[in-house]
């Protein structure tokens, strides 16, 4: 059974596949990664040192923060997922994508959405719902482009040359379907002008719909497609079969079923009915099981390959990624427990959690895949193999500085907000006094973020020089970069 499962992974030649579209998405990924993380570093500076807001409307934190989140999630995250999907789907199903035209419409449509976002958000055009800020005409465009992608993806499934659908494909499918449902339901609104609209839901119902969307944007944009990438690229890079086929079945169905219920953990202690808050909490805690199922399946795939993990930067990136996935999906359920959330909510702790998932899991699994892919698609060895190792260490230390400083800051402010003195009065009645004590941590976070960005810049330069370097004879097996 395992043999056949992974037999599909050990695919043969790329002849007849559309690799140009993969290269296009690959390039866009690297460009947007740099942009999104640069904006992250800028807003981190603004939080540590307010004059960096510059006193201009277009550069204040309130307008740049959504630019950061949209750029890293939908521009970097979206493009990296499309890169992996367009590449691995063709190989797994042994067929070219359904339509080259639809592939290009998807590519250029998605990039134009990103450019529109980069223009409208600094202008203050926003619907204010987190990760769904873009104004309604762009929402319509997103819907159209998503349908194009869906037709292209399912069209490819329909004309596949192998019957069996490998586990990565299941995760991609859940991504395509769920994001469509979430986007449409959460974006329903009545336009007032071309640039402004009001949602059909109001008050806490609107909040519930939004966090049903928001949590599952994490679940189905930053988790399931990346698990799909893990299921394809980790075994390829490690040259080992996936550990357990059965585990992948169980954890897939449990994950997609449970995730949807967890949204209300963003609304604990609100006036949302108790039963809804409790459901959100209970399902969030249960989510730990399928999440760790995925982590274990990834880590155990490396059994017998640990010696290579020490030397191969690609595997290093992937191991750290899967470990951070495990860590943030342990932390998340803990933070969903009412009492813990009472302390963590509203604080920098949540920001630490977000970035242990985002930098640790999403970022690192992407880097691993990109390093593997640049050598396989362009059929060239890395121009600077040692830089990949430097990138790995910069990123890893950067994440640690980022998350540890945010946990410390979050705990500190959470405790100081609630501290009472002997008389039963607030021990820190002046809010900004507490804020001032957080400042050193914000500088440490900035340093961590800057290191992470520096690593990504090294990766981009490395890719640039690799792609422009001499091609290798195609017959030669592609060695994995070692330092």
């Amino acid at each position: 059974m395992e043999k056949t499962t992974t037999g599909t992974v050990a695919a043969g030649t790329d002849v007849g596949y559309d690799l140009d579209i993969v290269k296009m998405f690959f390039t866009a990924t690297v460009v947007w990664a740099l942009v999104g993380m640069l904006v992250g570093v800028i807003i981190a500076l603004q939080l540590a040192w307010w004059p960096a807001n510059l006193g201009l409307p277009w550069t204040t934190f309130g307008r740049l923060r959504p630019l950061h989140t949209n750029a890293v999630i939908f521009a970097f995250g979206g493009n990296v997922v499309f890169t992996g999907i367009y590449h691995s789907t063709q190989r797994l199903l042994r067929t070219r994508m359904f339509s080259d035209t639809l592939s290009r419409v998807h590519f250029w449509g998605w990039q134009s959405i990103i450019v529109l976002a980069a223009v409208t958000l600094p202008l203050g055009m926003t619907q204010s719902k987190e990760y769904a800020e873009l104004i309604w005409p762009i929402d319509v465009l997103i819907t159209v482009v998503w349908v194009v992608f869906g037709v292209n993806f399912f069209g490819t499934l329909a004309r596949r040359k192998v019957q069996h659908l490998y586990v990565a494909i299941w995760f991609y499918m859940s991504f395509v379907i769920t994001i469509a449902v979430l986007h449409i339901v959460n974006s329903l609104a009545v336009p007032a002008t071309w640039f402004r609209s009001y949602p059909v839901y109001s008050g806490l119902t609107d909040a519930l719909v939004q966090w049903w969307y928001g949590h599952n944007a994490v679940g189905f944009f930053l988790t399931t497609p990346f698990l799909g990438l893990m299921y394809y690229y980790l075994p390829r890079a490690a040259e080992r079969p996936v550990y357990s086929y059965r585990l992948s079945i169980i954890h897939f169905w449990a994950l997609v079923f449970l995730y949807i219920w967890a949204g209300p953990h963003h609304l604990l202690y609100s006036a949302l009915p108790d039963w809804a808050q409790t459901l959100g909490m209970v399902f969030s805690v249960m989510l730990i099981a399928p999440s760790w199922g995925g982590m274990l399946n990834g880590l155990l795939t490396l059994r017998g390959a640990w010696d290579r993990v020490r030397t191969d930067p690609i595997l290093k990136f992937m191991v750290v990624a899967v470990s951070f996935y495990g860590m943030s999906t342990f932390e998340g359920p803990m933070m969903s427990i009412r009492a813990v959330n009472g302390l963590a909510h509203y604080t920098n702790w949540v920001i630490g959690h977000v970035h242990s998932g985002a930098l640790g899991w999403v970022g690192m699994i992407s880097f691993g895949m990109l390093y593997w892919m640049v050598q396989n698609i362009w059929k060239r060895p890395l121009a600077h193999p040692t830089w990949a190792s430097h990138h790995f260490w910069l990123a890893t230390i950067g994440i640690v500085l980022y998350t540890v400083s945010m946990w410390a800051a979050g705990l500190m402010e959470g405790l100081q907000w609630r501290a009472l003195n002997d008389a039963g009065q607030l021990a820190n009645p002046i809010f900004v006094d507490i804020t001032a004590r957080l400042n050193p941590f914000l500088w440490i976070r900035l340093l961590g973020g800057a290191m992470y960005l520096t690593g990504a810049v090294m990766m981009a330069v490395n890719f640039w020089q690799t792609i422009r370097g001499p091609e290798r004879p195609a017959a030669e097996p592609v060695p994995v970069a070692a330092d």
Partner: protein, 242 residues
């Protein structure tokens, strides 16, 4: 992996394979069902008639035109990314901000602006806490009123003007969604904007500040000064409630 483990894996896998993996359409439908259950169970009840009352109360009035304009500015500037609007039912929080926030207080909020960060203090009950002039100064230079604040400056709000036609369009869309406005006719909306704005302008004049009724800052002050006030008054007289 031991032998019987892989045996059971085979049986299990064969079933899954026969049911789903050969048939993309069935797999897709099964996935759609799996991802729909949670949302249906949690969200649909919010719309049933018996549930609707949990979010509704007569002691809350819709936003007036100037407040709608101010709220749109609050959204445009992303204030909600640093300020929450939800006081939680916890002792320290109620000491700092006031009564915890009831569902009905949000009933006319489209979109909701609860926020998920507190880089600055909660604003759900900030209304009437400070004089209008305080807000005017604070938005121009936060450190003038709150030494040590990390908030950006917003000098353009004191320069730029609201557009009554734009506010009217917002009112019309909100009315379409069921907000009980008696009129969304541009002349009436403009007249109301002007009279509400003038009251704030007069307050500011007493503090020696010259402003105009259609300054963006005036609209923003109107919005901030009503936040949480009706709830506070109601809860003070009723002594709690849902």
């Amino acid at each position: 992996m031991s032998n019987d483990q892989s045996q059971s894996e085979k049986a299990y896998g064969r079933l899954h394979r026969r049911l789903f993996e050969g048939k993309a359409a069935i797999f897709a439908i099964a996935t759609t069902v799996a991802i729909s259950v949670g949302g249906v169970v949690e969200i649909i009840p919010m719309f049933s008639t018996s549930s609707l009352s949990w979010e509704r109360a007569g002691w809350v009035t819709p936003y007036a035109p100037l407040e709608v304009a101010g709220r749109d500015i609050y959204i445009r500037e992303g204030c909600y990314l640093c300020h929450s609007q939800m006081v939680r039912p916890m002792r320290a929080e109620m000491l700092r901000y006031g009564e915890w926030t009831r569902a009905a207080e949000y009933q006319y909020d489209r979109p909701f602006l609860l926020g998920s960060r507190r880089l600055g203090p909660d604003l759900q009950r900030v209304g009437q806490k400070y004089p209008d002039a305080w807000h005017y100064e604070h938005m121009r230079d936060p450190r003038a009123t709150s030494p040590g604040s990390v908030m950006p400056t917003y000098p353009w709000l004191h320069r730029d003007k609201i557009d009554p036609a734009d506010v009217t369009a917002s009112m019309a869309a909100l009315a379409k969604l069921g907000t009980p406005y008696t009129t969304t006719e541009e002349g009436a909306v403009t007249a109301r904007l002007r009279s509400d704005g003038q009251m704030i302008v007069d307050n500011l004049a007493q503090a020696g500040i010259t402003a105009a009724w259609d300054d963006e800052i005036v609209a923003l002050i109107a919005y901030l000064q009503r936040l949480g006030v009706e709830g506070r008054q109601h809860l003070a007289t009723q002594g709690g409630g849902q």
